[in-house]
Subunit: 307 residues, 2 copies
């Protein structure tokens, strides 16, 4: 397959881009059914700082709920979130706090939750970057998604975030349909209305393990039914998925986004909270020969131009 | 959209075909993201008599395993299956027997199980029809799948059968990729080999509820992230899924296959074992205004011509 200079225009020439293009060309020898790419979302396709953007949606809902029912402010998880008390949140654990926030949406149908998430995303702005949240997606990744589609890849978003929240943005932001989103899934209950018509109601329990680490591999197989050959991530929570994607026999690539661009985005060492004492992901990447994307050096543009 | 006489050639002219074509035309007014169709597999896309065809695969594996390890014959579930003792199977319950058979594959990687299922399907023949199992798919349904694809539908198989078994046949038989198969899922375990490389190993436990009845609705939302507008099934286990698909606000269709063709296939009243005391599905269809397909009257051909 011929690669032109127009390919991936926001990826600067260099070893990272060469490695990516070499993989794309090698993959074209495979039957399309084997061309499967998985992408983490937070910190890989869009910004995850200062906190994961889904938290903004939760906080927005909490503020509204607490205005109507002030006693909610007394619940420790909600008090910590409303007060921005990161130490208290860390002590309680993100899963406990996340599940408490999920309770705010319990009882909604899938359509109602989707509507709430879309309404939030229509107007929300990033807290420090001063741009709409919808615009904190990485332009080079949008180009990569487009190029993969041109090459008949099946693209799946494999996020630690809530499945239905990511689905509410995935079509508009990434061109990825809801069925290609695998995240942390909240269980539904089946019920019937007074007329006997069936509907689903959100609960506040996990349907399966939170989608981080080894659970990502498990959920990819459960959902996609085969091993991906391209794994793209940025944190310890993506490690197993990236190892699995790159451990097959044919062409494969593990692509790690390194957040080293304090000027245009954020500079931080990506870790998943639940993997805090694990080997730093940059070290894993070096040891296993992954391709590491330096945001500062490899990307000529970070965010898309405002349309 | 103009419908020609070449559309759905194996569907005989009449009210059933008219209803189906009217739905297809109405659906073309919807955005493609809303064009979602779900199909049951056993008895809907292919034959399920005298017993679900996946059971043949299990029995084949059991015979092989019992030859190597004769003590397996003493296990009650295996003895009942090997002896064709339907009464004993019914007493123990299909789920218990199915899970016991699933143990035969515990420890396999997804690729190994896929290989075993494909190897079986390559040569297996139907026990009474005398044709290859691969050929017991319904020609009119293959035409409907093709027509839906032409109209940009997302097609999903929602089967009570094993997810990974159906995935092993879905591409070749139906043109449906593995990620669009939702069935009864056996859980995987994540592990690493001696070299530290990750892999998945089948267990013999359900990852989620067996995919029948209300669980089908739950799993469709979990997997597809939206409500289908076409629900096609044949048994009590498909009832909730078909009700859900046809309870939306826009164009929708619930299409029930009635097995009334003793001459070319089988004549039986479709029931799911777990729903034996529920309202017969034909009655549900009549009450809710579903479109009922008479295999004897509405289909000019049942099975495809041998290629």
């Amino acid at each position: 397959m011929t690669t032109t200079t127009h390919l991936l225009p926001s990826w600067r020439p260099g070893p990272t881009r060469d490695s990516l293009v070499a993989f794309l060309d090698a993959a074209s020898s495979l039957p399309p059914i084997e061309r499967v790419a998985v992408f983490d979302n937070d910190g890989t396709l869009w910004c995850e700082r200062p906190t994961p953007l889904q938290l903004d949606f939760f906080v927005d809902a909490l503020v509204t709920a607490a205005a109507a029912e002030p006693s909610l402010r007394e619940r420790p998880e909600y008090a910590a979130v409303l007060g921005g008390d990161h130490a208290a949140i860390a002590t309680m654990g993100l899963e406990r706090v996340g599940l408490a926030l999920t309770e705010l949406f319990a009882g909604m149908t899938p359509e109602q939750f989707d509507g709430a998430a879309r309404a939030f995303m229509d107007t929300a702005r990033h807290r420090t970057l001063g741009i709409p949240l919808r615009q904190t997606v990485y332009q080079p990744m949008l180009e990569l998604l487009d190029e993969l589609r041109r090459r008949d890849f099946t693209i799946c978003i494999v996020s630690g975030g809530g499945t239905e929240f990511v689905r509410a943005i995935s079509v508009d932001l990434y061109g990825v349909p809801p069925e290609a989103v695998v995240g942390t899934l909240i269980a539904y209950e089946f019920d019937r209305d007074d007329g006997g018509r069936p509907f689903l109601r959100r609960t506040s329990s996990l349907a399966s393990a939170a989608n981080e680490g080894a659970a990502k591999v498990n959920h990819i197989q459960s959902h996609l039914g085969r091993r991906p050959i391209l794994g793209v991530g940025n944190s310890g929570g993506d490690r197993e998925m990236m190892e699995w994607a790159s451990a097959g026999d044919g062409p494969s690539l593990a692509l790690l986004v390194d957040h080293d661009d304090a000027e245009r985005e954020f500079e931080y060492v990506s870790t998943a909270a639940t993997f805090a004492d694990a080997e730093p992901i940059r070290e894993v990447a070096r040891r296993l020969g992954w391709t590491v994307v330096s945001m500062a050096q490899d990307w000529s543009t970070v965010f898309p131009d405002p349309a």
